[in-house]
Amino acid sequence: MKSKEVSIFFTDITDIFLFTIRVIRETFSRNFEFKEFIHQCFQIGNKTLPLIAITGTIMGLVLTIQSRPILIEFGAVSMLPGMVAVSIIREMGPVITALICAGKIGSGMGAELGSMKVTEQIEAMEVSSTNPMRYLVVTRVLAAMLMVPLLILYADALGLIGSWAGANIKGDVSFALFFSQAFSHVDFIDFLPAVIKSFFFGAVIGIVGCYKGYNAGRGTESVGIAANSAVVLASLLVIIVDMIAVQFTDMLVL
């Protein structure tokens, strides 16, 4: 990477940090825009549900089909449901869903707020007694923090169903048996870190999307730039947060 890109990355991170502090401050001020928050939650779900359903199912299916030969080699086919369940719940579900959300929600927020900025809609809000930070940004960030974890759980569930379908292509496992085998390997300790990190994924996606849109430049071309850089940065930060989360769980759980 060129040194200019590195320095842009770090100024971005600093600005996002300051932006986050502003968002937190506005979140705890009075006048929470509850209606807009609900609307944003609905928007996020509505936009991503089909996409997440398809990728979640295929993720489980592929993971099962590919792991099967190796487990047969080790004579451990009975481990298949449990292994797939653990990897979906711990890692694959959260990360793949978060990356898709970064693409879909992050870019959507970047483009929407970016075009609102360019066409002076944000300023129009400001002069009609509406704090745009509170109305546009806080609601979107909180909506992402609530919805991304829910979407991840949904992807996990469909991933397991996909996995069951995959197990049935070559073998013959009943639904009940598959799930009892799967969950006998899944502990609370697999679940909790995944849920906690998925909140952070949601926060990162919401904050980066809003930050890029809210700080878009002045021409129409900045809308595209905002959307695009929101996806890139949000995806990158999702991976980085994931790495940090893994280190943490590793340290705490051993």
């Binding site: 809609q121 300023e123 129009a124 002069v127 009609s128 509406t130």
Partner: protein
Amino acid sequence: MITEQVITSKNPSTADKSDEIVIELKNIKKSFDKQEVLKDVSLKLFNGENLVILGRSGSGKSVLIKCIVRLLIPDEGTINVLEENVGTLNSAGLDALRKKIGFLFQSGALYDSMTVKQNLEFPLRRINKDLKQQEIDEKVLTVLDNVGLADALDKMPSQLSGGMRKRISLARTIIADPKIMLYDEPTAGLDPITSDEISSLINEVQKKYKTSSIVITHDIECARTTANRILMLQDGVVYKEGTLEEIEKSDDPFIKSFFKL
């Protein structure tokens, strides 16, 4: 009601003008990075008048009126609006002042994700939280009627033509009964006929709502129609100030080229 006829005569309502000052800018300076946009601008807006600010694109007209509502903060100088110093107001005071000012943005700034009706309701609900739905509906219909677009109620902004969008934004701006109107290039990008319609709407708003207005434009026809007084902005300073007649009489080559005299 919107008058469909094209008004080419000058704005005759100069008589309503009083000496009471509603907006006063003193020695405003504003730079972006190293680019000095406003070097030293002072102006006064009197009660009831339409002040037209003429200037070329990029001469800092938008920056100037955005300073008035504190969307931008000037580097130096003071701004008094309705006898309050905009620079020293707290956020509640600023909100209260902004309620009395209508701002028509250059790009219209209609909320893309909302219907025309929701667009019009937005400032009403925000500014006055205890309005009843019935009162809101009435106001929405009245302003839509005033701009001649009563049937656009359930359209999305993307379904409207440029001229219609401008009218809807004008309706959204006047819906909360502002005392002061700030128009940022109200006729930019419109055909001559629509421009004339918008210009006469501006005059109607002045009379009907008893507003004092600043109209920013580079469109000479719009200036001719709406101006009680004209101020020319060039290179970050006030280049010339006066009534339309005074300015048109000038021998200055820059002004002549502007007015294509």
